[in-house]
Symmetry: C2
Subunit: 261 residues, 2 copies
């Protein structure tokens, strides 16, 4: 293990390859090794000009190419042989990215760690459909929740979120959508506008809107699947007012009606 | 008003000028007019190669250069005379950015609107101090709250946040710090680790850590002031474990002890 080796955790952004930062590109350009997750767009690897190794270690749709322990071992292996190792992760490394496990193993071996934040899909995907997470007079906060915790159970935070007035963004939750909606409905939130956005910020993006009480039905009817982001909140209504062209492959007049005030 | 005029709301990122996206830079390069807020770093204006007008319209430390109505009027004025008008905002336009008011006025006048997300300081500033907002087994969600609502009152969401298990990030709240901490203490959260980060992601960054019950005292002793981000949550402890050099001008051994498990 050389004392100079640095592990840089880089956020690749939400899908649109232009939503990567200058800092991230400089880290990719300087990297000797890139260990990358499933990215929405592999064009980002074109920045890896001097990399001697570019290796896919990620998961796609829940199916791991490698376990976290195997990824950790690879980090140590490459850091012992190269100076600049980049761990390229979708979105932001510190938002549900399991960054800490990789940081811990690196630091325990004397490797320096650097973080390059990325744009999280939790914000950028709603934004790409013109849904702001906050809006003066409508929503003063937003809460980003994962659908399932590490035991594959529904996160208890979902129950608290259902009682709040925040805009709620739920990631990695399509398999538990009905269960989540039922919790919100039980707290009297059935009429709150809801949106589900699949492949957000990419040309394959599609969105279904409705209310919390019917969004699971609408999503099933439209065959929405992962990767998708769920948004609950009055801010979803603001989407209707935008005039710029959007990808709304699945919207019918009926679906638009459902979000009307 | 020409039919071709487009208003692009661009997120400038959290302060570090390298934390701007390729998409934002392309929007700046193509802009005829840039209306910009107080940015942590004016070097971003170097990207405005073909702009005929670059005009400061923002606020700095609560002091508005122009009212929101005056900004809205300027948007209409410039969109009637130029094709590409960029509204450059710190962080992300859709996170407490009052984007909707500018979007509404533009759309009502037939101007097309485009959003370019930015990295919000809510995520990047904690990350720059190696504080992840989520961490497997420690925090399954994060809640971003503004300190004050449009009536300059404490947001009611603060009371709900104080009851949740989420990592809490509070923006624009230094003037109400003591009041906010008291609410959390009343809900039994006094021992939860807390951090306040001023000028995050820039070379002027400084951080104070402690617990919710003593962070207001520590922040006052260290003369912490806006712009600053408040983070409450067990994830604050993870900061201690990082080895890469950080700006910790104000940390004393005593302050570090306060976050120990």
């Amino acid at each position: 293990m050389t004392k100079q080796s640095v592990l840089t955790l880089v956020g690749a952004g939400p899908g649109d390859p232009e939503l990567i930062t200058i800092k991230a590109i400089r880290a990719l350009e300087a990297a000797d090794v890139i260990l990358y997750d499933a990215l929405a767009n592999d064009v980002l690897l074109d920045y890896c000009k001097s990399a001697q190794v570019t290796r896919f270690v990620g998961k796609r749709y829940g199916c791991h190419a490698l376990s976290q322990n195997e990824i950790n071992d690879l980090i140590l292996y490459y850091c012992s042989r190269f100076q600049n190792v980049v761990r390229l992760k979708g979105g932001d490394p510190f938002i549900f990215g399991r960054a800490q496990e990789e940081i811990d193993v690196a630091i325990a071996s004397g490797i320096k760690v650097r973080i390059v934040p990325g744009i999280s899909s939790a914000m950028a995907v709603p934004a790409s459909q013109n849904i702001p997470l906050t809006c003066r007079g409508i929503s003063e906060s937003f809460w980003v929740v994962t659908g399932t915790n590490r035991n594959n159970e529904l996160s208890k935070d979902i129950y608290l979120a259902a009682q709040s007035t925040a805009t709620i963004v739920i990631l990695m939750a399509m398999s538990k959508l009905e269960e989540i909606c039922d919790i919100f409905v039980n707290f009297g939130k059935g009429e709150i506008p809801a949106a589900i956005i699949q492949n957000g910020t990419t040309i394959h993006a599609k969105m279904v809107t409705g209310t919390i009480k019917d969004i699971a039905y609408r999503a099933a009817a439209a065959a929405m699947e992962n990767p998708a982001i769920i948004v609950f909140g009055e801010v979803v209504r603001l989407n209707r007012d935008m005039v710029i062209s959007q990808v709304r492959e699945l919207q019918t007049p009926n679906q638009i009606d459902a979000t009307k005030c």
